[in-house]
């Protein structure tokens, strides 16, 4: 015999309520999944777009570097190369050191201007010979 709904005892309401949480659960599961799936799909699309954007930026950066690098290297090379005057000075100093070392054995010390002139003469002659 069917018991009318209104006649059901209130003392079972709490237990019934917990059971009622399952009602329609299967439909909810499918409905919610569709939204979760759409949410994840949106995320993946956004991530793919971001990756494409980053790859584009990286490619532009590489292209810019490839364009600028050769002229930058040339400028750096020119900047670091010593001038002809500097080369001459260094060579004269080296020859003076060699001559100074020899002079210590034979000539009196302090006569630097003569040694300097002679060293300059030797370097100039050596350059002329090399050219």
């Amino acid at each position: 015999m069917n018991v009318p709904e209104t006649g059901r005892p209130r003392r079972r309401r709490a237990a019934e309520a917990f059971r009622a949480l399952d009602a329609g659960g299967e439909i909810a599961r499918r409905r919610v999944w569709r939204r979760v799936e759409a949410g994840i799909g949106e995320d993946q699309l956004r991530r793919r777009r971001r990756l494409r954007w980053m790859a584009g930026i990286a490619a532009s950066a590489v292209a810019a570097v490839a364009l600028v690098l050769p002229s930058a290297l040339g400028a750096a090379e020119r900047w670091s190369e010593p001038s002809a005057q500097e080369q001459q000075r260094v060579a004269v100093e080296a020859v003076m050191q060699m001559l100074g070392g020899q002079q210590a054995h034979g000539a009196p010390a302090g006569d630097a201007s003569g040694v300097n002139d002679f060293a300059s003469y030797l370097v100039t002659e050596a350059d002329a010979g090399a050219n």
Binding site: T6, A14, A17, A23, G25, V32, G39, I40, D43
Partner: protein, 185 residues
């Protein structure tokens, strides 16, 4: 992507597959955790429509953030992590509702309209349960939602709540008594 059957037996294996973006793993994760999370949310908010919104949002957040999840020493930390996300979503829902509506209209007043209220309709039952739980102290309410609505074990409930199992048992004992009294008077 259709919902796949659970092929990932081990929880760690499932989470790792999700972390590497395995689509079937994401579906399997949802399959495994939807029932307890949905029941928990439904018992919290009392409305199936809101529960679906909140559950969807919780899963999207969880699956979005699963890459950053790290296993620690707990045996089942995923459950605790996921339920914390769901709880935050529920809290946000009530915060938004409070901002939108006056406090007196928070509990779904349409069910109380004369001539429409059926105490044995499952919608009303669920709404009644949610209301009865909201009259309890926060810790008792949370213990009941996790243990009885979501169907977690006492240990898992304790993990989610960050409380000792003994405390959870005591909360459940007092909470169930109070909830029954609130629903059956």
């Amino acid at each position: 992507m259709a919902i796949a059957a659970g092929v990932f037996g081990d929880e760690r294996e499932l989470v790792r597959a999700c972390q590497s973006g395995h689509e079937a793993a994401l579906a399997s994760f949802y399959e495994r955790f939807f029932p307890p999370v949905y029941r928990y949310v439904l018992a919290s908010v009392g409305s199936r429509e809101d529960a679906e919104d909140i559950t969807a949002e919780a899963f999207i957040k969880a699956l979005r953030g699963i890459g950053g999840f790290r296993f620690q020493d707990e045996p089942k930390p995923v459950t605790a992590w996921l339920f914390r996300i769901a709880r935050n979503e529920v809290v946000d829902h009530f915060r938004r509702a409070r901002r939108r509506l006056a406090p007196s209209s928070l509990d779904g007043q349409q069910n109380d309209a004369p001539g429409r209220y059926d105490p044995w309709d499952t919608r009303d039952l669920v709404m009644d349960l949610s209301r009865a739980l909201r009259t309890l102290p926060a810790a008792q309410r949370e213990a009941i939602r996790l243990r009885l609505a979501a169907g977690l074990s006492t240990r898992q409930t304790a993990e989610v709540m960050g409380k000792p199992e003994g405390t959870v048992r005591s909360l459940l004992h007092h909470g169930i008594k109070a909830a029954k009294a609130a629903m059956e008077r």
